[in-house]
């Protein structure tokens, strides 16, 4: 079969999957003679599949960016394993590595910083097409034009450089670039947060369209609960390197069971008469040997028992939460309807 130029056959495997199992990434603390390290990502498991969207929510320092860097093989894991189609990223052959690079793409938060200032927008996208060695140079030019059309940009935009186009247009171009290699999985790092409110929905709608059309799988990394609600069926909440809660988005937004999830939802809530500071304190750095709940200092539900290690436990209905008081958290949250 000769596939149309714009849609060559996908990688040979029937289904694509990217799985992280119990991955750990530790960073050393700077300082003379200081050999301590902190786990930026601490035993996190996540599985990306075509057609599904998973959201990772957390604030700065939660480890969500580190996790994406690990999934994209921009950094190696210290423990655990990340595998693409069942093969560990560390042990891939060069051919497998190429298939991985082609199948897993990334869209960055700041389009202004993710385009080469010296290249035209079209040039940047052509550059991304080098992964498609099934195409001649002329075909690449044509695919480039098709990609512009696909994301709703005037092909004349290809002649411009990044400072000559608006943020929304540039983020569309970034999508076109990510789609150039015909990936099956795309990691979206805060895809709308650099955009104006009135046009964020345009990008979200585009992403949903592509997903419906090409069965794309997304990992959305964000702190925006509304984006989670619009895009993701499954959400994972991270705090200081750990998953503290995980499950179906609707369930979690309606009935959060971890105090941190609850505070995130309430802080982002548009309802409510007054702004309430729901949790005190800030994200702190913990002592290396500290084993207890990492949210302890800030948690309104904290008890002595929280200083013991907390498991990410499966609750009765297959949701995961890392808090032994989840029933109390849920019952309080239900009284104040959020979002």
């Amino acid at each position: 079969m000769t596939a149309a130029r714009g849609t060559p056959s996908p990688p040979d495997v029937a289904t694509v999957s990217l799985d992280a199992r119990e991955v750990v990434k530790r960073y050393g603390r700077h300082g003379f003679g200081n050999r301590r390290s902190i786990a930026a990502v601490d035993h996190v498991s996540v599985s990306l599949q075509p057609g599904k969207t998973i959201a990772i929510v957390g604030e700065s320092g939660s480890g969500k960016s580190t996790l994406t860097r690990l999934l994209l093989n921009l950094e190696g894991v210290d423990a655990g394993e990340i595998s693409f189609n069942g093969v560990s990223l560390q042990r891939m052959s060069s051919e497998q590595r190429r298939a991985y690079r082609q199948s897993v793409q990334l869209v960055f938060q700041h389009p202004q910083q993710s385009f080469n200032p010296m290249l035209t927008i079209g040039g940047s996208i052509l550059d991304a097409l080098r992964l498609r060695d099934d195409l001649s140079r002329r075909e690449k030019q044509q695919v480039c034009g098709e990609l512009f059309e696909l994301v709703g940009l005037d092909p004349a935009m290809g002649e411009r450089r990044r400072r000559e186009v608006s943020g929304g247009e540039l983020q569309r171009a970034a999508l076109a670039r990510a789609l150039a290699s015909q990936p099956k999985l795309i990691v979206l790092d805060e895809p709308t947060s650099a955009l104006d409110a009135s046009i964020r929905g345009q990008i979200v709608e585009l992403l949903l369209q592509f997903q419906a059309r090409s069965d794309l799988g997304y990992l959305v990394v964000t702190h925006d609960m509304r984006l989670v609600q619009l895009m993701a069926g499954h959400v994972m909440v991270m705090y200081l390197g750990q998953i503290v809660e995980e499950g179906p988005t609707e369930e979690i937004l309606r009935r959060p069971r971890h105090p941190y999830t609850r505070s995130l939802i309430e802080a982002a809530s548009l309802e409510g008469e007054r702004v309430r500071a729901v949790v005190r304190g800030e994200v702190t750095t913990l002592a290396e040997d500290y084993q207890g709940c990492r949210f302890f200092d800030r948690c309104p539900f904290a008890r002595k028992k929280c200083l013991q290690p907390q498991e990410l436990a499966v609750t009765d209905d297959d949701r995961h939460v890392r808090c032994w008081r989840w029933r109390d958290v849920e019952s309080v949250a239900r009284e104040t309807e959020v979002i």
Partner: protein, 333 residues
């Protein structure tokens, strides 16, 4: 009569801020950006007014023009800003310096870059205090610690000795707010005070601002792109688009029943969680001048009138102002 007396005619009464027909250009000639185009905003004594708009709507330039701290490429073409009886544009530089920080203070978005990196934060606060209110160094230092504590900073006496780079983003923003409020100004201008902070920290910082304003009935002009932030903090709302005020009035009235198509679209884009909502197109370049309505290109209701005649701000029955020929079709009566 000193400036301080002129701006607060009666002792103990905080004067209101009034911006009238303000026009600001950035650059000159053909490349000039007409950033602010005839903006009118009134902040009554003790009022809390929110200004929302997207990037390029002119909201920050308006705030900078009020304080006369526009970048060197920008200039005020026309307009008047009064604080009580005093016309801020006619004050001498020295007089204006005594208004800034004493009568009107501003808090910027990125506190860490707004603070001076080479002085401890406590010293920066006490310098502002002594500059305006005098007094001994030790009294100013005590006042700095006191206000840091009021901002909810743990161990204020120790924090006062820290440098900006030793603080987290949330703490730096609290220090900025402390510095802005240390002389108990009549009006606080807050330009995206929580943008870039984590959501839980954002809630804390807004809480601090709300509490400290209430204590002294300080007026607030809060600039934000986030309707959620403004909603929790303000009673009045000003919506800006392409350098103009397109709608203003009581916040709850506008949010529950917007009369400008842009306001309606913006609220929908923010609030909707069922499916993505957005306004087609993008914010226009402000190099151009508009013959008709600046929103006409993106507006679902635009007709020939909208494209040819500039809509003036007009008052509706509930005392709100709206600049739209077709406002009656947008909102409920």
């Amino acid at each position: 009569m000193t400036v301080r007396e002129r701006v607060s005619e009666r002792a103990g009464v905080a004067p209101g801020l009034r911006i009238r027909n303000l026009w600001v250009d950035i650059g000159k000639g053909a490349g000039a950006v007409h950033a602010v185009r005839g903006v009118d905003i009134a902040v009554q004594q003790g009022a809390r007014v929110g200004v929302v708009g997207e990037s390029g709507s002119g909201k920050t330039m308006t705030a900078l023009a009020v304080l006369r701290v526009l970048p060197s490429t920008a200039r005020v073409l026309e307009g008047e800003v009064t604080l009580g009886e005093a016309d801020l544009f006619s004050l001498s530089n020295r007089e204006m310096a005594s208004v800034r920080g004493r009568q009107i203070s501003i808090v910027f978005q990125n506190a860490k870059s707004a603070l001076n990196p080479v002085f401890p934060v406590g010293e920066q606060i006490s310098t502002v205090y002594r500059r305006h209110l005098g007094g001994s160094r030790s009294a100013a230092r005590a006042r700095a610690v006191e206000i840091l504590e009021a901002m909810g900073i743990p161990e204020p006496a120790r924090t006062a000795h820290l440098f900006p780079h030793e603080l987290s983003g949330g703490m730096a923003q609290r220090v900025m707010i402390a510095m802005a409020l240390v002389c108990e100004p009549a009006i606080l201008l807050a330009d995206e005070p929580t943008t870039g902070l984590d959501v839980t920290i954002q809630a804390q910082v807004l809480d601090v601002i709300a509490t400290s304003l209430k204590r002294r009935s300080t007026s607030l002009l809060l600039i934000s792109h986030d309707i959620g932030v403004v909603r929790g903090m303000c009673e009045e709302l000003v919506v800006m688009y392409a350098g103009e005020v397109v709608e203003s009035g009581a916040l709850e009235n506008i949010l529950s029943n917007p009369h400008h198509p842009y306001t309606a679209g913006l609220i929908e884009a923010f609030m909707a969680t069922d499916k993505p909502h957005y306004i087609p197109g993008h914010v226009p370049t402000l190099r151009r001048t508009f013959i008709g309505c600046s929103f006409a290109d993106r507006c679902p209701l635009a007709n020939e009138t909208c494209r040819t005649i500039r809509p003036e701000l007009r008052q509706l029955a509930d005392a709100r102002l709206v600049a739209c020929h077709r406002a009656e079709q947008v909102g409920r009566p």
